[in-house]
């Protein structure tokens, strides 16, 4: 039993408590989890943000109130944030509760920023904070930042000039995703290690592809042709097949989400290689997604070999909230155009629709 973070056994019991929810009495698991306390997803996100903001505010306050110079402020604020995070862990036994994770990340970044402003060092600090806190979100952000850093190096630019714009970043990101996929075949004692690899598998293909779109404007992407595009398409295709097969074989969501991301990237590549009008490809791809969804839904309505399209739980979760918000966003976008300029309806102030709305939405 460690004071600094849960042992693998304790973390596994925390995972059991999370999986079973209210079906298992808390008291029955209290001893097994070593007294570690964590928060649910939404509270964890809110506490993470609050912790990060608190550390940033503390730094600003030290600078303004005590007149410390910039470098001393970074060090002192970083140390305070990191120490408070450690105190919360050791004394209050907080694990994966958000607040100590936000403080730790901010603390590590501030301390490393005091030592050096080198981008790679900051990425390493974020990665170290993620590993210290066993937080898959932070480690994934660090790896995505690493892909971005690699894409910006002189070597990558030289390679891109030879093989095509953005190929290096996509190749690097996809290779890391493939590596994470391969490492996921091992059985880890800590569920958090599994999750870290899962997050990489699910996000890296899209994140790496987004680097390409970010670094090169749309016109140049459309104009660019040849081996670069072919290489990216081949890479994405190979990775998507590997992700799909692995996802189905292991029955895990992360490779399947990664597969969906690869398909989206391939769709954009296909669009860039053709001269279809934007609205045509949007509708064609949309219809293709709908047909695929309807077919899959019909096929798996009755479970086949354990695979089903039905939800396994009816508990309201963050994804239900996301679904409601998503429907509202779609509804808002399909709702009315700007009000007619000669409208005689005067009351207003609303920003989207409604009487006197500006129509800016």
């Amino acid at each position: 039993m460690s004071r600094w973070r849960p042992s693998p056994a304790e973390e596994r019991w925390l995972e059991v408590a999370s999986e079973l929810g209210a079906a298992v009495p808390r008291a029955a698991l209290a001893e097994r989890t070593g007294g570690w306390r964590s928060a649910g997803l939404l509270a964890r996100v809110a506490l993470f943000v609050l912790g990060f903001i608190a550390a940033a505010l503390a730094a600003a306050l030290l600078y303004v109130m005590f007149g410390l110079d910039e470098w001393a402020t970074l060090l002192v604020a970083g140390l305070i944030a990191a120490l408070v995070a450690e105190w919360l862990t050791v004394a209050k036994r907080l694990h994966a509760s958000g607040i100590e994770e936000g403080l730790c990340l901010a603390g590590f970044l501030l301390i490393v920023a005091w030592i050096t402003t080198d981008e790679l060092a900051l990425i390493a600090a974020a990665g170290a904070a993620g590993l210290r806190r066993l937080n898959p979100f932070v480690t994934t952000c660090a790896v995505i930042a690493l892909v971005s850093w690699v894409a910006d190096t002189a070597t990558a630019h030289s390679l891109d000039q030879v093989v095509g714009g953005g190929v290096t970043a996509v190749t690097f990101g996809c290779t890391l995703a493939a590596l994470a996929l391969a490492l996921g075949a091992r059985e880890y004692r800590r569920p958090s290690h599994d999750r870290m690899l899962d997050w990489l598998v699910a996000t890296l293909p899209v994140a790496a592809y987004a680097q390409r779109a970010q670094g090169y404007d749309f016109e140049s992407l459309v104009a660019g042709a040849g081996t670069g595009r072919l290489a990216i398409a081949a890479l994405l295709l190979a990775l998507s097949i590997a992700l799909l097969l692995t996802g189905l074989r292991r029955r895990r969501h992360a490779p399947l989400i990664g597969f969906l991301g690869c398909v989206a990237c391939l769709a954009v590549e296909l669009r860039l290689a053709t001269t279809l009008a934007t609205e045509t490809w949007l509708i064609l791809y949309g219809l293709a997604a709908l047909v695929a969804g309807v077919t899959l839904d019909r096929y798996l309505r009755q479970p086949r070999n354990g695979l089903t399209s039905a939800a396994l739980t009816h508990r309201e979760g963050p994804l239900d909230l996301l679904q409601t918000a998503g429907a509202a966003v779609l509804a808002q976008r399909s709702a009315p155009e700007a009000p007619p300029p000669d409208s005689t309806f005067t009351p207003g102030g609303g920003r989207f629709g409604g009487g006197g709305a500006s129509g800016s939405y």
Partner: protein, 334 residues
């Protein structure tokens, strides 16, 4: 006849791959000690072994992407190809597409089945197509003339009718968004967070809309005790009410009403979270209260140190309160 095998007597075997993370030893231990019953243990074990694996979320993501892309493409068509195709042809074509999209939901209803996930999203697409069609027709033919904004209310009613006919929470969200639009406020989180553009009048509109939605929720709950719409109503009403209260906190003398209202709403939200075990209402109550307090006080502080100190205290207090309330939520679990 072969006896049914208990999951506890079958050897340690997973559905497809041996190389996956498993909590099976822990689950077995809990079952052996009698902490969890047979049914719970069997379900948990089946999921852990991946004997049953749901693609529900992947399916929803795919269908949502499909609806999003189709609506984006349609938006461009409506904007660009008006003269080439002609307004009437566009209106009819979109109406036809909407009717086609609603077929799976209609068939499910006629057969007495609940709509499938795909059916629900196609129904949402149908409702959105109706929205776009109606908005387009209104713009082209100015059917309502100076009362153009009332077509948002009409849209809210039409969507509500569709939502009730097919018991679709997704279409209800579209209806509530149109209703919020009619009141002159956005119905999404992004709009709710645009505090800089808030005004007391906009706040009053948001509060009025939240009150209407709360009343609607109450009536729906009374008329249909088994309703599945309450969550959607709750989220819309809570967000709009908090947004309205915060908008009031920005300007004097509305501040005098805004701050007490914010406190009442925060208390009600936290109370609701604790009573129903829903963490999201704790987050709403604490985070919106912190934002509202900062919105009320920060513009009135001239000294930077005092300003930073105040915000830091509010953030720390919010984090502590959220953590403590979250603990109470967990402790109240059975």
């Amino acid at each position: 006849m072969r006896p049914a095998q208990s999951p506890w007597t079958t050897p340690l075997r997973r559905a497809y791959s041996r190389a996956v993370h498993t909590l099976e030893p822990e689950l077995r231990s809990l079952h052996a000690e009698g902490v969890i019953d047979d049914a719970t243990a069997s379900r948990a074990l089946a999921r852990d072994r991946r004997m049953v694996f749901s693609l529900h979320y992947e399916l929803r993501a795919t269908l949502y992407a499909g609806v999003l892309l189709v609506m984006a493409g349609l938006g461009i068509i409506l904007a660009r190809n008006l003269e080439r195709i002609g307004p009437l042809a566009i209106v009819l074509a979109v109406a036809l597409a909407a009717a086609a999209c609603s077929v799976p939901a209609v068939r499910a209803k006629l057969a007495g089945r609940a709509p499938t996930v795909a059916g629900e999203y196609l129904l949402l697409l149908a409702a959105l197509l109706v929205s776009a069609d109606l908005a387009y027709a209104e713009r082209q033919f100015t059917l309502l003339g100076p009362l153009w904004s009332w077509h948002l209310l009409l849209l809210a009613v039409v969507h509500a009718a569709i939502a009730y006919a097919f018991a679709s929470p997704l279409v209800l969200a579209a209806s509530l968004t149109a209703l919020a639009g009619w009141f002159g406020v956005g119905g999404t989180l992004g709009d709710v967070l645009h505090f800089a553009e808030s005004t007391p009048v906009l706040g009053a509109r948001a509060l009025a809309c939240a009150a209407v939605i709360a009343a609607w929720r109450y009536a729906d709950r009374r008329a249909r005790p088994g309703t599945s719409f309450s969550d959607v109503f709750d989220h819309f009403a809570a967000n709009l009410a908090f947004w309205g209260a915060i908008a009031w906190c920005l300007e004097w003398p509305w501040l005098a009403a805004g701050l007490p209202l914010l406190a009442v709403l925060a208390y009600a939200s936290v109370r609701r979270g604790l009573d129903t075990g829903r963490e999201v209402f704790l987050v709403y109550g604490i985070v919106y209260a912190a934002v509202g307090l900062c919105a009320a006080v920060v513009p009135r502080l001239d000294d930077t140190s005092a300003l930073l100190g105040f915000v830091l205290i509010v953030v720390c207090a919010a984090a502590t309160a959220l953590w403590q309330l979250r603990r109470r939520l967990r402790e109240s679990d059975p």
